[in-house]
Each structure stands twice: as C-alpha cells, then as structure tokens.
Symmetry: C2
Subunit: 355 residues, 2 copies
C-alpha cells in the first residue's frame, strides 16, 4: 500500500483517507500563477521548466491538495512534434492548418521524445520538491479529444467535421488516432520516467458521442494510450453518463466522472474493482459556503459506495473561482471525509442497487 493517498485510492486501498486534488488547480484561478505567467504564451510557459515547476507546486502550497499535476497542456506534445498551433487565451487550442485530408493525416510528424526534455526536467524537479506523501500526476489527451481540435481547427460545439470524418472514412480516422495515441503515449512515458506517480488521460469531449461510436472508434485508441504506462491511471471526460461502462473497460484504475451522475451510480455503471474520481459541480463554487459544504458532503457519501474515491471537481476549476473556497474545500475533505466515508460505507448495500 502506497503512502501516497492518491495512489492508494487509485488502487482501491485507501483505508480511511480521502485524497483530493482539482483539475486545473494549476492555473488561472491563482493570483500567484497570473503573476508568474504574465505575458508568456501558454505553450512557451509549458516549455520553461522553472515556470512548470512553480505553477505545478503553487496549488499544493496554497491548498494542501494531495497531488500536484504537471502544469502543461494536452496539445503540447503535438506542438513539440511540429504541428503549428497555439493556445489562445479565452479560446483554447487554435490549429493553423486543420487536418482534414488523408494527405494531411499521413504527413503528420512523429514526436521525438527528446523534444520533451524540458518537461522531463520539470517533472523531476517537481517530484523532488514534493513531500513524499503527495502524488505527482502526469497527463495527456485521449486521441478523440486531440483529433477534434486538429480536425475542427479549434474548440467546437458540435464536432461536426470530426464526426463526419469518423463516419465517412473510418480507416483514415483510425490512422489519425493511431498517430495521436503514439504522441500521447510518449508524452505520458516521459512524465512517468521522470517521476510522475499517477497519470490522467483527458478525453474531455468524448461525451459528445453516442456509445456505439465511442466503443468502435474511440475506446481502442484511448486504451492504447492508457496501456502505455505502468502507474495507476485515471480516465476522464465530461458528460460521459452513457459511456461510463465502456470507460471502465479502457484500462484505467480510476474513472473520473462529472457532476451529472452521482458517484454511487457511476460506480455501478463502471463496474467492480475501479475507483472513481469527482465530482462536485465547479459551477457551484460561486454559491455560499454552506451550500458548497453540503454538496461536497453528498459527493463524499456517494463516493463511499465505490471501492476507491479521489475527491475532485466534476470538471476544471473555473478561471473566476475564489481560491479561498478551494482551500476550504480541501480542509473539509480532509477533516470530514474519513468519518463521512465510514458512515456511508456502513450503510452500503451489497450488491449496491444504484439509484
């Protein structure tokens, strides 16, 4: 059993502890991050070890979360491979030359692991600076979400070009995803080799797909990325209620869930032997503290019905979130979590009947 509570929970051996971290904890919500970043473009920040180290450690210092997550971006390995893109503030990834033809897919560059050397340096330094009981989470994008940016040229509401490509040319789609899976796998391996204890694979937009398409055209590529490392793995997407059973089969020890599905029901869908991560609605961070506290307690109680639980939000920290609220939330999870879990577990039905 690991002395790192996030690792232990991912392996469903957490005991009384309830670990907590927040997606996007390193970033825009922290004034010290905005001070650090200033006018540095996002991808340049991700390539500068001292910025990566500092941005990754800031939320650990401030909030006392149980894990640092490497400050980076899912598009970084694509940029390091030579794809012309930028992360535009308030927009997201913008691709200079969207990928829509077979010729474009076939001329996608490969990712040389040595181009990730600054990230490896940063990861090693973060691990060295972290207290031994805190985990360091590496991450990468899943092929569908990466492909959606490449094909659409940027963020999208409906993923129409991506879905049309999937439907029109499944062979080309598989080729595109195979190349992207290789890049994400390299990105993960570099982070793990440099000291990441856990990884999270973000398939943020997979929830836009019907389950049958997800199973046939997305899951195998995500499984390939997840299968590329030997540390505990978390797999996350937004609006994945219909996909949780499939995501439970992708190879990750932990499935991250947004706020739409209570964690007890999520655990039922994901299947036995998998931990869950989540799932307080980040949109509620602007509510009065007693409301947030009551919602957080409900998340903890529901999570006690899964064999492992890592507390998190159901999606990333909003840019406008009050950092003091996040700190208070960490305190609540640490002080009230163990008793709430024990109490809720005592009433756990075997087998649990869902809600």
């Amino acid at each position: 059993m690991s002395n790192r509570s996030v690792v232990a929970a991912a392996r469903c051996h957490q005991g009384a502890a309830l670990p907590v971290w927040f997606m996007r904890q390193a970033g825009r919500s922290l004034p010290e991050y905005r001070e650090l970043r200033r006018d540095l473009p996002m991808l340049d920040a991700c390539r500068t070890p001292e910025v990566v180290v500092e941005a990754s450690l800031q939320p650990v210092r401030r909030h006392g979360v149980d894990a640092a997550i490497v400050y980076s971006d899912i598009m970084l390995p694509l940029a390091q491979a030579g794809i012309d893109l930028e992360i535009r503030a308030g927009v997201g990834p913008v691709i200079a030359d969207p990928i829509r033809t077979a010729a474009q897919v076939r001329s996608l560059p490969e990712l040389d692991p040595s181009s990730l050397a600054p990230i490896a340096v940063a990861v090693g330094a973060i691990r060295a600076a972290l207290a031994p009981e805190r985990a360091l989470i590496g991450f990468a994008g899943a092929p569908f979400t990466l492909a959606s940016y490449l094909v659409e040229g940027g963020p999208s509401r409906d993923y129409a070009r991506t879905k049309a490509l999937m439907a029109a040319d499944p062979g080309l789609w598989d080729e595109l995803c195979t190349r992207l899976a290789a890049m994400s796998a390299t990105f993960l391996r570099v982070q793990v080799d440099a000291g990441a204890d856990v990884v999270q694979v973000f398939d943020s937009w997979a929830g836009s797909l019907a389950a049958a398409d997800y199973e046939r055209q997305v899951l195998p590529h995500s499984a390939s990325v997840l299968g590329s490392v030997r540390v505990p793995r978390i797999h996350f997407g937004v609006g994945t209620g219909e996909l949780l059973a499939l995501m439970g089969r992708a190879g990750a020890e932990v499935v991250g869930v947004d706020w739409r599905v209570p964690l007890d029901e999520a655990a039922r869908r994901i299947g036995p032997g998998r931990a869950v991560q989540g799932n307080l609605d980040p949109a509620l961070l602007g509510a009065p503290w007693p409301v947030i506290a009551e919602r957080a307690r409900a998340v903890i109680r529901a999570g006690a019905h899964a064999p492992g639980h890592i507390f998190n939000l159901g999606h990333g920290v909003p840019a406008g979130a009050d950092p003091a609220v996040l700190t208070r939330l960490v305190e609540l999870v640490h002080t009230e979590g163990p008793a709430l879990r024990a109490e809720a577990s005592a009433t756990r039905e075997e087998p649990h009947e869902g809600s």
Copy 2:
C-alpha cells in the same frame, strides 16, 4: 385518431406512418430564408407576420416535412414583455441588464397577451395555408433555459451564475421561474388559440444539471408550462440522458431525445405510454449519404420500440447543413419508415429489456 401524423404519433396512435420534422427547419440552412431575412434583426422578423408565415412554410414546401413549426424564438415573449434583449447572429440571446438580484426579479414585467397579436395573426395564416394532414407546432422555452439566459446575460458553457443562484436562494429562483413560466404559458396559449396543433417546450440546457436539482428546482416549473395547454406536448433538451425518467413525468406526451441515448433505451427510461422524438446526430449531416441513411434507419428501428415515434434530429439543423440532404432524409423516413418500423416492432421484446 388524428389525420395529422405528428399528432397521432404524439398520442401513440400512429399506425404505420412515421412522421418527420426538424428542429430549426425554419431558418438559416435555407437560402430562401436568408433571402427573406436579409438584414432584418431576428426579433423584428419574429414580429412581422408575413415573415413568420413565409419562414414557417418554406421547409414544408421544400422538404415535405409533416409539420411546420412557428418561426420564432424562445426569448420573444420576454422581449414582448419589455425585457431589453437582442438575438445576436452567431451568438444567441444577449440581455442588456442581466437579472441577478431579488429587486430585478421582482421588477420583471408581466407579459400582456395582446403584445403577441402579430404572432397570433401569423399562426392563423400558417394553419390556413398548411395542408390539413400537416401539423403546426407552436413552442416556448422552459423556465430553466430562459432563466439561464437572463441570469448569465447570454449563452454560457457552465451556467455558473444560474447554478449559484439556484443553490444560494431557492426561493428567489422559484420566483424567477414562476414569472418565466407564466410568460411561456401565455406564449403557448396564444399559439394554440390561433391554431397550433402541437407544442414543443424547449429546455435546451437542462442537461447541464444533476438530476436531483432538476427534479426539485426545474421540473415543477416546466410542468407548469406544459400543463397550460390542451394539445399534445413535446418536451426536449440536449444531453438529458440522466433526466429522461423525470422528463417523462413533466406532463408531455412526447419526450425529445438527443443522439446520445438510443431511442429504445430512451423509451425504457421515459416509461410507458410516452412517445419519443429524435434523434439523428445533426453533426452527421455532413457525412456521405449512405452513412446518413444507415444511421437514419438505425434511429427508425430503435424508435419502433417506443409506443410512438416522431423522427427528428437530436438537436437543431446546423446553419451549414445542405438542404438537399434534409429533403432526402424526409424521403427516406417516408418511404422506408413504415416497413422498418413494422419489422423492428415484430422483434420487440415485451417487456422491453433495454440495452
């Protein structure tokens, strides 16, 4: 049994027929609509009877759909009541003075039905121009979706201010929704009194909510709007997989479903005696025709497991959709639908076990 196939299907008495219409069929995808609208602001177009009549009839003439839907906007009744807003092209509703305080909620104007006189005139003229076997669908917004625009000030990705208001001040939230429900009910009644045969209540963004919040703070207000008219009612939202059982209890005869949940599974969640509407993914309209046709057939087969089915997309027609594809889709539904339904119904399990 009505001779209008949409009405008959809504009442689960459709026989062999499979009716079809498309959300947003009246609008941006049609060149004749863009010619008609020209530089006229959206809300002005909605207040001009001859524009409303022509825009509503255009898709019936072009595609041969089984229903016209009144060309309008869910925000129109709010504008007619005197709330300062516009529908900005490519953006959506923009509210001059977002509603965030109790004083603002309490000073919201009431809607005088006489301010909807141009809409009544238009609805009467559309009904008179339509062939008797075609239905005329009136519509309104559900209180949550309307409130989300008023509170956020426009479209939103996370509905953070709306959710914070719901959590922080449930009494004020109920007061806001009660007022909005009254406006939408008036909007529906004016359309029904003028000749609408069916209504659809759009709660487009309700899928952003957890089911427990939806049940407590949204469903009662939607039910109030649905309960205000005596014609068959369709209730629709996007990403509502977790809410379908609750939506089946809101009072509508038909629940509209997006593409994420197959219609046989949707019917199981919605419960007995309710028809379904949907659910081809509009993002697939850019795929090659054989792919679209095969997906449409799968939708028809799955829909045959519900006691009534109105074919539609899983969300609105995208602005860039090729109208010729929509016309071809109507032909497919009409020519292949009856046989596909009969065949799929023959294999229907009783009781159906879901997927």
